[in-house]
Amino acid sequence: MRDDSELITLCLAGDRDAFDALVARHYRAIYNMIYRMLGNSEDAADLTQEAFVRIYTRLDTFHLDRSLLAWARTIASNLSIDFLRRRGTPAVSLDERIEAGEQHADLGPGVSPEDQLEMAEDSRRVLAAVQQLPERQRAVLVLRHIEGLKLEEIAETLRMPLGTVKTMLFRGREAVRKMAGELSGEPT
């Protein structure tokens, strides 16, 4: 299987199939990140398309020694932040799939159905609270906890000073705690 750098080189030589291969490799990650920021699957799908169009038209400015996914995250975050600014207050809350209690990932085999329900309820409340945060705070929380990025990586992705990222993360988490109320906790 070809790596990202090889595919990008082929794209720059005019090979559209190579770009399709890059899309197939990364669209889920980009869609998920945007979806967690916007809380709406239709908007997330539209913005994912827009992000890949932007990646395509700017591909000749991409440095092959960087990570394509990191660059794509930067583009997707900027698009999401711009979209949220234009939209103002959220039009709708998170899609019902979360509220309906999808199976949580990586919980291990020993988690009881009751615990799973409690954790789903915690996630629902926390995600709903995240949707109320200002757009840049929201982006920091999504990148830190849902995407699992380090603080330095978030600073690079959002082109913010590290100190600003820390401040936004701490304030955002505090705001979420206040909005979400007391959480029941994960199983011990």
Partner: protein
């Protein structure tokens, strides 16, 4: 440590961002203070709740939709040609300016004998303008823009040489306008979708 000192540090403590000695002091306080430990627990729960959020499944036709959008754009090879033309234009214009500046300064800086070379330099400048125009004759909008700019620049050079009271004013005007033109065109070509610059 007291609760009032520990509470503001809990977020940093959770992220592992405070120095060992202070972290030890916070940990010691947390072992004895249920309220602060509960506060830290809530931070952990928020982080945990977000970390275990299930992955959302995008619609199955999303890659096809992206592919269709991309199919409506020009191939990247064409885009790179346009980028190349932009730099040809920049280099040609810089050449024109350098030659015109040298031809202006030479009679002032060197002896009478060498000053006769000005005529020759003038011819070189004419050639550079011709080369620039030849490049600019390419069938795309950006190149046509450069062709027009080349002509305007030539008229400006003639007028500036006649009107400038000192060499400094002439140089400042030439360089200032060159920088402004390059910056404006460069930002314009970055903002504008590349497909709009192609005639083909």
């Amino acid at each position: 440590m007291k609760c009032a000192n520990v509470r503001p540090m809990l977020e940093e403590y959770f992220e592992g961002l405070i120095a060992d000695r202070r972290a030890d002091a916070v940990a010691a306080h947390l072992n004895t203070c249920a309220a602060c430990a509960g506060e830290l627990r809530q931070i952990e729960l928020v982080a945990g709740a977000l970390a275990t959020v299930p992955r959302a499944a995008p619609a199955g036709n999303l890659p096809t939709a992206i592919s269709l959008r991309i199919a409506g754009l020009p191939a990247l090879r064409q885009q790179r040609v346009v980028t190349g033309w932009r730099w040809v234009g920049v280099i040609a214009t810089i050449s024109v300016v350098c030659l015109s500046v040298v031809s202006y300064l030479l009679p002032v800086l060197v002896s009478e004998e060498l000053a006769s070379s000005v005529a020759m330099l003038g011819q070189i400048r004419e050639v550079s303008v011709l080369v620039h125009n030849w490049f600019a004759a390419a069938p795309d909008l950006l190149a046509a823009l450069w062709l027009t700019l080349g002509k305007v620049w030539w008229w400006f050079t003639l007028a500036a040489r006649a009107a400038a009271p000192t060499i400094g004013v002439y140089l400042a005007a030439e360089i200032g306008i060159l920088v402004a033109v390059v910056l404006v065109l460069d930002s314009r070509s970055r903002r504008m979708p590349v497909r709009q610059t192609l005639l083909t």
